[in-house]
């Protein structure tokens, strides 16, 4: 462990804590994840391509991507509005509303799934008002998107909120004193500061939606080619003992998730640097 150290410290416990952390990380996380790639490497190229390139798998990827993208986009718009309202305005119940935003983190996904399905089914509290307009929601891609909006809701709000809170009011005052109206101030002063956080929130919501299972499985109806998302296809293949196919589809999903994670990390670093840079300017 001593070789790793780049700076001397008088504090004890470096070897013990780092050794334990890395060992635990390897045993529980890295080795099992590597096992997935070992298993998919044992498939021949033809088997792998047949699994990930089958029409059913392609339809599942398309649906997962499309619904996740639509849900994250909806969250970007409404999340920005919610963050703005929670930071800028004072009204009764604001504190409770603010706390409620984290509900999708705390509520088990299966509970969210059965609740949304019950609400949006033909005879549900919401579904009965949508049905006459010819908008069936439960067991359609629209229903999947709604479940994913629920799941991704906190991400945009919670990434944009702190940036809005830390904004200097002087910036807006300066814009106003130079004759900008509120819309121009938003477009040319506020939005350029907010967009890295907005994109980060979008990406977090998108990444979470891509792998989501519990809240979607009830509302989707699970019809192959129509309402079957990628994680569900993995479960279906597993239940039919098609371990190879399940592994191949999972490997693709995992690689996509890791790419998103790296992208999000880069975005967050970019956002922090930009933001820190703005704050360090001489007064």
């Amino acid at each position: 462990m001593g070789l790793l150290r780049t700076k001397r410290s008088v504090l004890p416990g470096f070897g013990l804590t780092l050794g334990f952390s890395v060992a635990y990380l390897c045993l529980l996380i890295l080795i099992p994840l590597a096992g997935l790639f070992v298993k998919s490497a044992s498939l021949t190229a033809a088997e792998f391509l047949a699994a990930v390139g089958s029409p059913r798998a392609l339809a599942a990827y398309r649906l997962s991507f499309g619904a996740s993208f639509a849900a994250a986009a909806a969250n970007a718009v409404f999340g920005l509005v919610v963050a703005w309202v929670l930071v800028r305005y004072r009204f009764p119940g604001r504190g409770a509303l603010d706390a409620l935003v984290d509900l999708p983190f705390a509520l088990p996904t299966a509970v969210a799934g059965i609740t949304l399905t019950t609400l949006l089914a033909k005879n549900g509290w919401l579904g009965r008002y949508l049905e006459p307009f010819g908008i069936p929601v439960a067991y359609t891609p629209l229903g999947i998107t709604i479940a994913l909006i629920f799941i991704g809701l906190p991400f945009v709000v919670r990434t944009v909120q702190p940036v809005l809170q830390d904004l200097e009011p002087e910036l807006e005052e300066a814009a106003a004193s130079l004759g900008a109206n509120r819309f121009e101030t938003f477009r040319r002063v506020l939005f350029p500061t907010l967009w890295p956080a907005l994109v980060t929130g979008f990406a977090l919501a998108f990444a979470r939606s891509l792998g989501e299972y519990g809240s979607v499985v009830f509302i989707s109806g699970n019809m192959p080619m129509k309402t079957e998302i990628a994680p569900l296809l993995i479960v279906t293949q597993l239940e039919q003992y098609e371990y190879g196919a399940a592994t191949a589809i999972a490997a693709v999903l995992l690689v996509l998730s890791f790419a998103m994670l790296l992208g999000i990390n880069a975005l967050q670093r970019y956002g922090t640097r930009r933001f820190a840079g703005a704050g360090e300017e001489p007064a």
Binding site: L4, T6, S9, V10, L11, P12, G13, L16, T17, L25, L28, I29, L33, G35, L36, V38, K39, F78, V81, V82, V85, R88, L97, D98, A99, L100, L103, P104, A106, L107, P108, T109, A110, V111, I114, T115, T118, W125, L153, P154, R158, T159, Q161, P162, E173, A176, R182, T185, E212, Y213, G214, P231, I234, V235, L238, Y243, A250, L254, L262, N265
Partner: protein, 296 residues
């Protein structure tokens, strides 16, 4: 106006101040009203309505059905298993989180940012894939499957698999919370303790732990909520054996699929109650720590 033009018996102090420039950076009332309306409608439809629905549906067949559902032997077995799983994965991951945060926040070493990224990996993995990797390792057809069968150890479709998958899913929570907190606190207080002759354990217990206790609790509360509510990963490894490998979320699924809606929502209402308690405790801790809510 009259008095001013008449005798100028006023001083500058009497002149009402000009309207605050605040109006220049405040939104017009109609924008304000519209945005609050949109936010309330959105949160009302997507958060409040589902939350109310859980409890509404739970009591839709009366209190008797509700009580029967949550005192059913299978439901009680599911609750016991859920508590057992949380009782293992929460302390294990809390200890890991503290150890990892200590190494990362108090020392400089090569590969640190790589380690931080690796710790967050489970957040990026789909719950289903999290379950699958353990089926591939420990399942009958898995890499270690033959060895486990030979020695009569059952992990997949048994409780150990559920515990392992849940521990995987909830692995980053405490570390993710403590690393930035401890990095911010620096090392000066601990160094002072060392110079006064404190042992490693004394430093941790008397200096570090009091400083991080709220953050640690915060991480544990979120970790616990996820451990008790995890569905996808557990569903893949559990095998859904009633009374044996059914956690509460899986029990909710079974009841729901058997068209026992009120019973499903009755058990779900306990999980929703846990979620509400989690949110309240989270908010209180955030208030005590003097900081805003943030995403994971």
């Amino acid at each position: 106006m009259t008095s001013a033009s008449a005798g100028r018996d006023w001083t500058l102090a009497d002149v009402p101040p000009p309207p605050r420039t605040a109006s220049a950076v405040a939104d017009p009332p109609w924008v304000r009203g519209l945005l609050i309306g949109v936010a309330l409608l959105f949160l009302g439809l997507f958060l409040l309505l589902p939350l109310v629905t859980v409890f509404g549906q739970a009591f839709s067949k009366g209190i008797g059905v509700y009580l029967d559902a949550i005192t059913d032997p299978m439901a009680l077995a599911a609750m016991r298993l859920t508590l057992l799983v949380a009782a293992i994965s929460v302390p294990v991951n809390a200890v890991f989180g503290v150890a990892a945060a200590w190494a990362i926040a108090k020392f400089e070493f090569r590969g640190k940012s790589l380690l931080i990224t690796a710790i967050d990996l489970p957040f990026a993995v789909s719950p289903v894939v999290s379950g699958l990797i353990f089926v591939l390792l420990f399942g009958a057809q898995g890499l270690l499957g033959p060895w486990l069968t030979l020695h009569g150890v059952k992990i997949i479709f048994a409780i150990p698999g559920i515990v392992i998958a849940t521990t995987f899913i909830t692995f980053p929570f405490v570390a993710h919370e403590l690393i930035p907190l401890m990095q911010e606190q620096g090392t000066e207080e601990e160094e002072a303790a060392v110079s006064l002759g404190a042992s490693g354990f004394q430093i941790f217990r008397r200096v570090t732990l009091p400083n991080i206790s709220l953050g640690l609790l915060y991480g544990i509360v979120l970790l616990n909520a996820r451990a008790m509510g995890e569905f996808g990963a557990v569903s893949v490894v559990s095998g859904h054996i009633r009374g044996q490998t059914n956690t509460m979320p899986l029990h909710v699924e079974i009841l729901y699929n058997e068209y026992q809606g009120a019973a499903a929502f009755a058990v779900a209402s306990l999980l929703a109650l846990l979620a509400v308690v989690t949110l309240v405790v989270k908010r209180v801790l955030e208030w005590r720590m003097g900081r805003a809510s943030r995403a994971l």
